[in-house]
């Protein structure tokens, strides 16, 4: 290898290291509720489970509110200012992206993980697989969705 080749190789390696450093240092961390309270940043990713029945519409704030339970078992109110994502009623895993306010988490983006249509993580027990109820009472379901949420 000539010296110019060595120089180019070193430069490329330095460029890759620099790029790597830029990505890692500018990445947005996934935090727990306790970590979110200690971390500054506009793009904190707070991952957790949606607390059943906690999702509500806040027309006065043009926002949605719900409670999120993180992996440590702590819960926090989340105020989400974007549009209601499709499939919200079937969601359980949510990543709220935003920042920590005094006593709640203000999210501007939600990443939704909806497992309903994808295979479950564990293999389904074949003895219960066909026991799904048929047929669906479409009219009853329709009423639930079209009513005013009550």
């Amino acid at each position: 290898m000539s010296s110019s080749h060595i120089r180019i190789t070193i430069s490329v390696c330095l460029a890759i290291l620099l790029i790597g450093y830029a990505f890692v240092s500018n990445s947005s961390p996934y935090v727990t509720i306790n970590e979110a309270k200690k971390t500054k940043g506009e793009n904190l990713h707070l991952a957790g489970d949606l607390v059943d029945g906690s999702f509500e519409n806040l027309p006065s704030k043009k926002a949605y509110a719900f409670r999120l339970k993180d992996m440590d078992g702590n819960t926090i109110p989340v105020l989400y200012t974007g549009e209601q994502p499709a499939n919200m009623t079937n969601v359980n895993k949510i990543v709220a992206v935003g920042k920590m306010e005094s006593d709640y988490f203000l999210a501007h983006k939600l990443l939704i993980k909806c497992p309903s249509k994808y295979e479950s993580e564990e293999k389904q027990d074949v003895s219960i697989a066909p026991s799904v109820s048929y047929p669906l009472d479409a009219n009853a379901a329709a009423k639930t969705g079209d009513s005013n949420g009550r």
Binding site: S2, H5, I8, V12, A15, I16, I19, G20, F23, V24, N26, S27, S28, P29, Y30, V31, N43, H45, A47, N57, L58, P59, S60, E83, Q84, A86, N87, M88, T89, N90, V95, L111, K113, C114, S116, K117, Y118, E119, S120, E121, Q124, V126, S127, A129, P130, S131, V132, S133, Y134, P135, L136, A138, A141, A142, T144, G145, D146, N148, G149, R150
Partner: protein, 791 residues
């Protein structure tokens, strides 16, 4: 035995369906055995003449058998889908009774197992085509290729789409399945996966060539055939990536074409390496240099893709991707990791051996002369471009690996936002586009800087003029797209730079590259029209990038709320709700909106419907609507109808609250019956004051047999007042107003110059096809003249 299990009422599966499923499964085992036998036979015969058909016959037969088995397997799966065999777990979870024909096709590859099968089938098909042109490289090539296919088939044996649900040894057929994911019921799902998987499949060709070249030490004869595959791979993969972008933009409502999602990146990284490799071939063809580097780039295409596949399918990025994949079978995942490790290690070790061998073969005086001298010539421009393309690939690979890197160093998981990718990659984009613009003006020898400037000066001047034209169009009252001249990008603290000049400069560099390549194409049309494909591809690529930059950087966005009889407004448009096209539970239902403003009058039809899943509450599903104008798109997303007019608010006696133009005053509570007993009613007495006068309302809660029954009061033609709850201790009441006609929240975007993205994709694909077609014809002509090896 659980006789109450409803499965026992279902009909038993027919023999035909069981035979088809078993056949599909057997085809996969047949493929594994065939590919292993192919590689064993090829290894045993490796010292024979590769261009003598009799010495390659048996390995070739088993290879063809293996590939046809994979095709047979996907046909079997297709039959299961088309004949509604819901006893098969994969069919049950991805299809349903009455699913439209094309969505059944899409359903075949809509899940983890089916997409692996599609990958295997595509790899088999392109493998059958490719082995016809490998000539003296036949044995190492087919060993590498068939071992790869054996591994994919092995993964399929564990990640099988033919798993059947049996109850105590009997197979019952459920009447329907759970259906295809709504977002996948789209024509893009029919055409995008096969396109991109053909692109992925062709990466195996490039990898196997690299292994074959290392094994044979013949760095020359592979260039002509591999060039055609490199061009085809680049074109098909590029088209597949663009299709994914259009799908995200038009249907999924991600709000843009590209989100730097790990799944997108895992396809984009091999595209970068393939583009780098293709330019490496040009250098080697012309100068004889870049022999080892080209082998490395050719192999890296597949290795980088396998790495991306591992990241996205293994669950490592499960929190970090908008795509959702089921967790893989553990054994299948181990096989995938082993495949990635073996491919990477084989390439790495092979390259070390090849480099040492090459070093020994090179005479001492040539080594001394290999010192780099900087010249302004096309070779250096290509080398520079290859370096930048590779760096873009490496950067994206690092970006999507950040969660893994963080996990390895013991930090909490973190992901890289799209903005970070854009801020970092723009530093590579600018010199890369400059290189694309300048390269056509360079000769393969040496040019002086002065002569280059002389050549590009006219192009540069014309580009500045075009940027000015775009600026004028952008501010035109009819065609313009509302440039925000005060928009500011913060760089550090309060310091920053205005957005418009930055974007115009970055896009202007792209326009310079487009004009430069077009002018070169025009000059070539007279002398060598067959050779314009590459330049056409450059024009398409840069046009696409310029479109992406404009549409993202100058995007305007606003929220609006629309209700029957109450128009919404945003970005100079007024939206009138006209109604639903079909009904909220019809999959093709659209919300019809009359849009007036900005000298336009049209109907917007964003889609909204409620899914009806077995055992679940209906859930809203929306698709955006895009109104295409020549200079910009008006992009609408709509949310599910909202009925709540106010928050549920607790009033104490005498409290009042203003809502829109009415004052709500809580006067007190009365009770009929005994607390806690069925039939007891609690009534809130509410006074509502409006400009037209004061009225009293009395919403109630009644204790019914199966819970609380609400009796709201109608306040006006569109509002209901509910008593939600009350506190018997202090007689406070929780009141809430609901709309009778729902309010639909909307997001409206103006996305400038997205037409460039579409045109760019078309030109890029055309350029690729032109190049590949020209090379194929040229090669056939040479073969007819027996100037090339014929296997």
């Amino acid at each position: 035995m659980d006789d109450k299990n409803p499965a026992f009422t279902f009909p038993l599966a027919s023999d035909f369906s069981i035979i088809v499923g078993n056949l599909g499964k057997s085809f996969i085992y047949c493929a594994i055995i065939s590919f292993i036998l192919t590689s064993v036979l090829a290894f045993l015969h490796r010292n024979r003449d590769a261009e003598d058909r009799s010495s390659t016959r048996f390995s070739r037969i088993f290879f063809i058998l293996g590939c046809l088995s994979l095709v047979g397997s996907i046909i079997s799966l297709g039959i299961l889908f088309f004949t509604d065999q819901f006893q098969y777990d994969y069919v049950f979870k991805h299809s349903e009774l009455g699913l439209e024909l094309w969505y059944r096709v899409a359903a075949i590859w809509s899940g983890q197992q089916g997409s692996f099968l599609l990958w295997g089938v595509c790899t088999g098909i392109v493998g059958l085509v490719s082995i016809r042109s490998v000539g003296p490289y036949y044995f190492p090539y087919i060993i590498s290729y068939s071992l790869f296919l054996a591994a994919i088939s092995g993964i399929l044996a564990y990640e099988s789409p033919f798993a059947v649900n049996d109850v105590h040894g009997k197979i019952y057929v459920p009447p329907t399945g759970t259906g295809l994911e709504p977002s996948l019921m789209n024509y893009w799902m029919v055409i995008h996966p096969p396109t991109i998987f053909f692109g992925f499949a062709m990466l195996t060709i490039l990898y196997s060539w690299s292994i074959a070249v290392i094994s044979t030490g013949n760095y020359k004869d592979w260039l002509a055939p591999v060039r055609i595959y490199a061009i085809s791979t680049l074109t098909i993969l590029g088209l597949g990536l663009c299709m994914g972008g259009f799908w995200a933009y038009e249907t999924l409502g991600w709000g843009g074409f590209w989100a730097w999602d790990p799944v997108e990146n895992s396809s984009f990284v091999p595209w970068c390496f393939t583009a780098a490799f293709l330019h490496g071939i040009f250098i080697q063809n012309r100068t004889g240099k870049w022999q080892i580097r080209n082998v490395a780039l050719s192999g890296l295409t597949l290795v980088s893709f396998l790495f991306g596949t591992f990241l996205t399918r293994s669950g490592v990025l499960s929190e970090a991707s908008m795509h959702s994949f089921a967790t893989m079978d553990r054994m299948a995942l181990k096989l995938l990791i082993a495949l990635m490790a073996v491919c990477g290690t084989a390439l790495g070790l092979g390259l070390i051996v090849a480099a040492r061998r090459k070093n020994k073969e090179t005479p001492q005086e040539e080594k001394g002369s290999s010192r780099l001298r900087f010249h302004y010539n096309r070779e250096n421009a290509y080398s520079f471009g290859i370096l930048l393309l590779s760096l873009v690939g490496v950067a994206c690979a690092i970006g999507m690996s950040v969660p893994l890197i963080k996990a390895i160093i013991g930090d909490s998981i973190a992901i890289v936002e799209a903005e970070v990718y854009e801020k970092i990659l723009v530093w590579l984009y600018i010199p890369l586009i400059v290189a694309i613009g300048v390269a056509p003006h360079l000769s393969w020898n040496h040019d002086s800087l002065k002569s280059i400037i002389g050549k590009v000066w006219n192009t540069f001047s014309l580009s500045i003029g075009l940027v000015g034209c775009i600026f004028i169009v952008a501010n035109h009252p009819t065609w313009g797209f509302k440039l925000d001249l005060d928009a500011f990008i913060e760089i550090y603290g309060d310091y920053g730079i205005y957005l418009v000049p930055v974007v115009m400069t970055v896009a202007g560099i792209g326009i310079f590259a487009i004009v430069s390549n077009i002018s070169f194409i025009i000059s070539k049309l007279r002398t060598n029209p067959a050779g314009i494909g590459g330049y056409l591809t450059h024009v398409g690529l840069v046009t696409l990038l310029v479109g992406l930059i404009f549409s993202k950087a100058f995007e305007c966005k606003a929220k609006a709320y629309v209700q029957e009889g109450k128009p919404g407004a945003a970005l100079g448009y007024i939206f009138n709700y006209l109604g639903m096209s079909e009904g909220l539970y019809e999959r093709n239902n659209m919300v019809l909106l009359e849009v007036v403003g900005n000298n336009q009058h049209f109907q917007a039809r964003p889609q909204l419907y409620y899914t009806r899943e077995i055992g679940k509450e209906p859930s809203p599903f929306t698709w955006p609507f895009v109104y295409h104008k020549p200079t910009y798109d008006v992009y609408f997303t709509i949310g599910a109808g909202v009925y709540e007019a106010t928050d549920a608010t607790t009033f104490k006696k005498g409290d009042d609250k203003l809502f829109e133009r009415m004052m709500i005053v809580y006067k007190g509570m009365s009770k009929e019956g005994e607390a806690g007993k069925i039939g007891t009613k609690f009534t809130a007495h509410v006074e509502v004051k409006t400009a037209s006068g004061t009225k009293n309302y009395h919403p109630k809660i009644e204790i019914g047999e199966s819970g609380l029954v609400f009796h709201p009061e109608r306040v006006d033609e569109n509002l209901l007042l509910y008593l939600q709850s009350m506190d018997a201790a202090d007689y406070s009441a929780n009141l809430q107003l609901f709309y009778i006609k729902p309010v639909y929240p909307m997001e409206v975007y103006i996305k400038p110059l997205t037409i460039f993205v579409w045109i760019g994709t078309g030109i890029m694909t055309l350029g690729g096809l032109w190049s590949a077609g020209y090379r194929v014809l040229q090669r056939r002509r040479l073969m007819a003249e027996k100037k090339l090896f014929v296997s």
